[in-house]
Amino acid sequence: MFDFNLANCLTLSVIVFLVGCYGLLTRRSLVMILLSIEVVLNGVNFSLISFNHFLWGTREFGHYLYMLSIGVAAAEAAIGLGMAIVFFRNYRDISRERASRLSEGES
């Protein structure tokens, strides 16, 4: 049932992607939201690897793309976490509700 083939790998990648999306939409902490974004990205990355392995096994372009994407994701995560820390320092709170009321100013 769980053969190692393209269809199953892509299904796994979609499931990871959807899990990430679910987290993105439902988590209340900004850190968890950031984490969910990483999960979404990894779902996409997994599809890249799968395509490369099953359709074009002799070359490794998919892996390069995957590493690029990881690098971008790392940078993005660093920025996102930085923002979350600043946000926490300012408001003693990193919930999405507080973030939605940014326009209202301090406290």
Binding site: C21, L24, L25, I33, R96, A99, S100, R101, L102, S103
Partner: protein, 644 residues
């Protein structure tokens, strides 16, 4: 001079105008004036360089390039210098230079000299384009240019409330004329197939009056162009702007509203005189309007108290005289009077400027009474100018021979308009009678200024009598005195033993000077003018006699609405027939625009508010809403991907 130098003539003053407009504020007053003088002087010198080619009878043409070129219409940017244009170039650049030089002294205290001199230079450039262009379209460029500069310069003292109105008046009256002019150009093009003036004149000269349909396009074109010329040269019924134009600085009145710009209409009609020779009916129209202007100018000049207004109405009268010569199909006489008038009227205006300067901008002759005693050079200028203006003495008076020549021309050309026919002799006597009034207004002015009892402005301030202290003012007045005197000599016809034929031939493109008036012919009118002048002068220069006369005149029933007070009802008629309806129309349009615009803007504002309210619903600042929208969009795009 190579023909290419023709282009330099207008370019020099235009360049200095540009320099002054851009950097003039940083220069000091004298430098501004000097730059302006240099521009005009260079033009004058280049013009002088053409004297040898022109005196040989040659014409120089320089084509800068093609302007319009289609299957139907073609016009080139061509400058053409024949001896007629050469004389005008000398007049414009020569007087332009002298008056610019004069202005350095006159405008010394002004705070906006850069704008003044830039406009003055631009005026000279436009006027040079006007006289050099052979192409009616290019003439229109110069025509508009001088109109704009005239507007700018009339409005120079814009802080005074009445001044902008005077400037508007001049501008709008000229707009009417410009419209007619442009229509006329189109009609002439439709008939003759060319914009070139000399080509039109040549073609018209080849026709005879009998063979031409009086209702043709050419006739209507000639009539419409006449409308433009009437506005520019202030002929009734489009004369109303000229007296108001005296609101500008006095040198401007001398250069633009006496010597050069107002003669542009005369110049144009004289150039096209073979065309007008074909249509006696149109010349009848010129006769009527010019006679009207002559009378209005002469009569109103007698009752004015503003020194510049007196001169302005006298200018009107003299322009009427030039148009009378044109109506009599004698462009030569018109041009001769144009030059003579420029000589004495510029002198008078600049003299008036000197008086106004010495009296701290007082213009009322009653207050200026006796002021000339303190101003020797101005005094000489006024005497020479007044004698020249009345045409009192042959040789010494600039206007004597030119006026006689106009009268001679009129005497030979009857007025015909519809069924109205007036013989030339009758016209001549009417004009002679009106011209006697010129002796009255000129010597009334002179009498006031030479009065034995000084007026309040002539007593001076702080114990100082009025005095001439500007060097350039005195210098230019001196030069113009010589010009004014000299003109009487160079315009003298052979019948007086004079040598005017050379000058006459030059300003008229080689045309021979007519026989000229015999001395006996001119004698009676001259004697009458002399007697009237002497009487007027003696009465007005003596304060007690003057007061007695004015008291007696005051007994005449002269209601405030009389013809003299309302300038022969022109203002009243224009107010009722034109301005009141126009104002009502303007108010109506304004109210319509206001309500429509107001409603429109309300609508726009409402739409903006609704739109922003809708957008606010989406832009609620909740991060996960944004994320949800983003993901929804992604899935939507996935669904829309072309599937297999």
């Amino acid at each position: 001079m190579p023909p290419v130098a023709l282009a330099l003539l207008p370019v020099f003053p235009a360049a200095t105008a540009l320099i002054l407009a851009l950097f003039g504020r940083r220069f000091n007053h004298t430098l501004v004036g000097l730059v302006a003088c240099v521009g005009v002087a260079l033009s004058f010198l280049v013009g002088v360089g053409f004297v040898s080619s022109v005196s040989g009878g040659a014409e120089s043409t320089y084509v800068l390039g093609s302007w319009l070129s289609t299957n139907v219409v073609s016009a080139s940017l061509a400058l053409r210098l024949d001896s007629v244009a050469f004389a005008m170039v000398m007049l414009v650049s020569g007087f332009g230079f002298l008056i610019t030089l004069y202005s350095i002294g006159y405008m010394h205290d002004d705070s906006e000299v850069a704008r003044f001199f830039a406009s003055l230079n631009l005026f000279v450039a436009s006027m040079l384009i006007l006289v050099l262009a052979d192409n009616l379209l290019l003439i229109f460029l110069g025509w508009e240019g001088v109109g704009v500069c005239s507007y700018l310069l009339i409005g120079h003292y814009w802080k005074d409330q009445a001044v902008p109105l005077a400037a508007y008046r001049a501008f709008f009256t000229n707009r009417i004329g410009d419209l007619l002019f442009l229509l006329g150009v189109a009609f002439l093009f439709a008939h003759f197939g060319t914009f070139e003036m000399h080509a039109i004149a040549t073609k018209a000269a080849g026709l005879s009056a009998e063979s031409v349909d009086g209702n043709s396009l050419a006739a209507w074109g000639a009539l419409l162009i006449l409308g433009g010329a009437f506005a520019k040269s202030a002929q009734a019924p489009l004369h109303v702007w000229l007296p108001d134009a005296m609101a500008g600085p006095t040198p401007v009145s001398a250069l633009i509203h006496a010597a050069t710009m107002v003669t542009a209409g005369v110049y144009l009609v004289a150039r096209l005189s073979p065309l007008y020779a074909l249509f006696p009916q149109i010349r009848g129209v010129i006769y009527i309007c010019a006679l009207l202007t002559l009378v209005i100018g002469a009569v109103l000049a007698v009752v004015q108290f503003d020194i510049k207004k007196i001169l302005a109405y006298s200018t009107l009268s003299n322009l009427g005289l030039m148009f009378l010569a044109l109506a009599a199909d004698s462009p030569g006489a018109a041009r001769l009077h144009l030059f003579g008038h420029a000589a004495f009227k510029a002198l008078l205006f600049l003299g008036a400027g000197s008086v106004i300067l010495a009296a701290h901008h007082e213009q009322d002759v009653r207050k200026l009474a006796g002021v000339l005693k303190h101003l020797p050079i101005t005094r000489a200028a006024f005497w020479i100018g007044c004698i020249g203006g009345v045409g009192l003495v042959p040789f010494l008076a600039a206007g004597f021979f030119s006026k006689e020549m106009v009268l001679e021309a009129v005497a030979e050309s009857p007025l015909t308009l519809g069924s109205l026919v007036v013989s030339g002799e009758t016209l001549k006597w009417i004009i002679t009678a009106v011209e006697v009034l010129s002796a009255v207004y000129m010597f009334r002015l002179l009498g006031y200024l030479e009065s034995n009892v000084p007026g309040e402005a002539a007593k001076g301030r702080h114990g100082h009598a009025p005095h001439e202290d500007s060097l350039t003012v005195k210098l230019v007045l001196g030069i113009l005195c010589v010009v004014g005197l000299g003109f009487g000599f160079i315009s003298a016809p052979a019948s007086f033993g004079g040598s005017g034929s050379g000058f006459f031939a030059m300003i008229n493109g080689g045309e021979q000077m007519p026989e000229g008036p015999s001395f006996l012919h001119a004698l009676p009118a001259a004697i009458v003018a002399l007697i009237v002048s002497t009487l007027t002068f003696r009465v007005f220069s003596n304060a007690s006699k003057r007061k007695a006369l004015l008291r007696r005149l005051a007994n005449f029933p002269q209601s405030s609405g009389g013809p003299l007070a309302t300038k022969f009802f022109f203002d009243v008629v224009y107010e009722a027939a034109l301005f009141a309806p126009l104002r009502a129309l303007g108010r109506f349009c304004a109210s319509v625009v206001e309500s429509v615009a107001e409603g429109g803007f309300e609508l726009l504002g409402g739409a903006g508010q609704v739109g922003s309210a809708l957008l606010r619903l989406v832009m609620n600042g909740k991060i996960q809403h944004y994320a949800a929208v983003l993901l929804a969009a992604v899935f939507l795009m996935l669904l829309l991907l072309p599937g297999r």
